[in-house]
């Protein structure tokens, strides 16, 4: 009886081992995780990336997507990338700051003149250099996704210029650069977690916040914040990254496929993002939000001290190089 059991167990083991063996030779399944909802443009672009990669590789490479932060928040996902537990993720460049110090440059307000300037930098040698700057930290950048520009929205009073921000409590992301920016403009920066923001706006804990258009719309903050000021102070892109470990496991042919699928996905995402932004703006207008076209020059003037501080820091050269791109 006992020997039969052992034989059966051995047989089962061999079958499983053989089955998994043949599979891993033909198909490489890569894991992709991100923190956004499955309806978000970023997720749809990731799905497109998976489809393109499968198409280019003739089914040899497949991508399994874990959306909605199932595997963790952006910070945890970056750690999983470093360990090599997942192969791809999309994070905001600001989430990468604690890992790759150079990424701080994107948090500088009014770093880019406009969208055209932004994409010229990202697609140029500086963008490439920043993507590769993570390799000492086991992170390899693959491409940039559009994450729009962040603008202020307030609950009680409209804001036309930085002077109107004086004494207003503005929710910011918990990062020193965001805090410094609002301070420099004259507001009182208040770091509050994103999930608590709706009630904080409603109860008057803060008088306003800032984010890009789709987030303003999808978070339903427009229900309580009735003034949107299109001052577009920062344009922090999203970055799609892989780990140097995962990257090292791919051969040259496979890397080429990934790069090709990524660049398809980037142009797909940019179009989609633009469309969703326009739709969000129209939707919040519809909901009764007063959209104010701000005089940007006054805002640019108010962050001059920050620009000067960056110029004299170790990132001064990078900062000037970005500004000089025409």
């Amino acid at each position: 009886m006992k020997t039969i059991m052992i034989k059966l167990a051995l047989l089962a083991f061999t079958v499983v081992a053989l089955a998994s063996c043949s599979k891993s030779h033909d198909v490489r399944v890569l894991k992709l995780a991100h923190g956004l909802d499955a309806k978000h443009p970023v997720h749809l672009s990731m799905v497109y990336f998976a489809e393109q990669l499968e198409k280019y590789s003739g089914g040899e490479m497949q991508v399994q997507i874990y959306p909605s932060g199932q595997l963790g928040s952006e910070r945890e996902l970056i750690e999983l990338i470093q360990i090599g537990s997942i192969d791809f993720t999309k994070v905001s460049a600001s989430s990468l700051e604690p890992f790759i110090p150079k990424m701080k440059i994107f948090s500088a307000p009014y770093l880019f003149r406009d969208g055209e300037h932004l994409w010229k930098v990202l697609n140029g040698p500086i963008g490439k250099e920043l993507l590769d700057s993570g390799t000492p930290y086991r992170i390899q950048g693959l491409g940039y996704y559009d994450a729009g520009s962040r603008s202020f929205y307030t609950t009680k009073n409209p804001v036309e210029s930085p002077a109107d921000l004086k004494g207003m409590k503005i929710r910011v992301m918990n990062s020193p650069s965001a805090v410094a920016m609002v301070k420099s403009m004259g507001g009182a920066p208040t770091p509050i977690s994103w999930g608590e923001l709706y009630t904080s706006l409603q109860q008057g804990v803060v008088d306003g916040a800032e984010n890009n258009l789709p987030s303003f719309y999808l978070s339903k903050h427009y229900e309580v914040a009735k003034y949107l000021i299109l001052d577009e102070h920062t344009s922090i892109p999203d970055v799609v990254i892989t780990g140097t470990k995962s990257w090292g496991r791919l051969n040259d042919q496979q890397r080429e496929w990934v790069a090709k699928a990524m660049s398809d996905s980037v142009s797909y995402e940019r179009k989609l993002w633009h469309k969703v932004s326009q739709e969000s703006l129209a939707a919040v207008r519809e909901a009764g939000v007063k959209v104010i076209e701000a005089d940007k020059s006054a805002f640019v003037e108010s962050v001059k001290p920050i620009h000067e501080a960056i110029e004299s820091s170790e990132y001064g050269k990078l900062f000037n190089n970005i500004r000089e791109v025409r």
């Binding site: 604690p98 086991r138 990062s175 770091p191």
Partner: protein, 158 residues
């Protein structure tokens, strides 16, 4: 010095240290509320500091409470057994605790702390090394092992 004595000392230190952290946590959060509601310059480091305090309190506190036997447990079924069998059950549980402490807390925790230290990860607003925060996990693992050893000895002497 006997094992019991070492454990007593360590345990006393844990109690004082976690209480101090708790006091720090309360002051920190009070400061957050005061600066947010009464001044125009809300403090930006308090939330992160509170989180780090809480992590250390949780991991050290878990070890302290383990020694006291104050963790959640279902003893309904265990008490139905004879004292002899109960002794065996407790020892079996201790073996699982040791396996968890070594594999997850000690090995997993130190590799996580080492990774954060090696790759220079720092916290977003205070700029503290994240490895300091992660160090709580292997430290807690060592404490669990120490207290498991003591407990095992006690149950063997009965």
């Amino acid at each position: 010095m006997s094992l019991a004595k070492v454990c007593n000392r360590v345990d006393y230190f844990l109690e004082v240290f976690t209480s101090a952290l708790m006091v720090g946590l309360v002051l920190d959060v009070t400061w957050q509320v005061v600066t947010r509601f009464f001044t125009d310059n809300p403090s930006s480091f308090t939330e992160e500091l509170a989180r780090f305090f809480l992590i250390w309190i949780a991991f050290l506190g878990a070890a302290h409470v383990f020694r006291k036997g104050a963790h959640l447990g279902l003893d309904y079924f265990v008490e139905k057994f004879s004292p002899d069998a109960q002794n065996k059950i407790v020892k079996t549980i201790l073996v699982f605790v040791v396996i968890f402490s070594v594999c997850i807390l000690l090995i997993g925790g130190s590799s996580l702390a080492y990774l954060a230290w090696d790759l220079d990860q720092s916290s977003a607003s205070l700029g503290l090394p994240i490895s300091i925060v992660y160090l709580a996990i292997p430290v807690s693992g060592v404490l669990f092992l120490l207290f498991s050893a003591e407990s095992f000895k006690n149950y063997s002497n009965i």
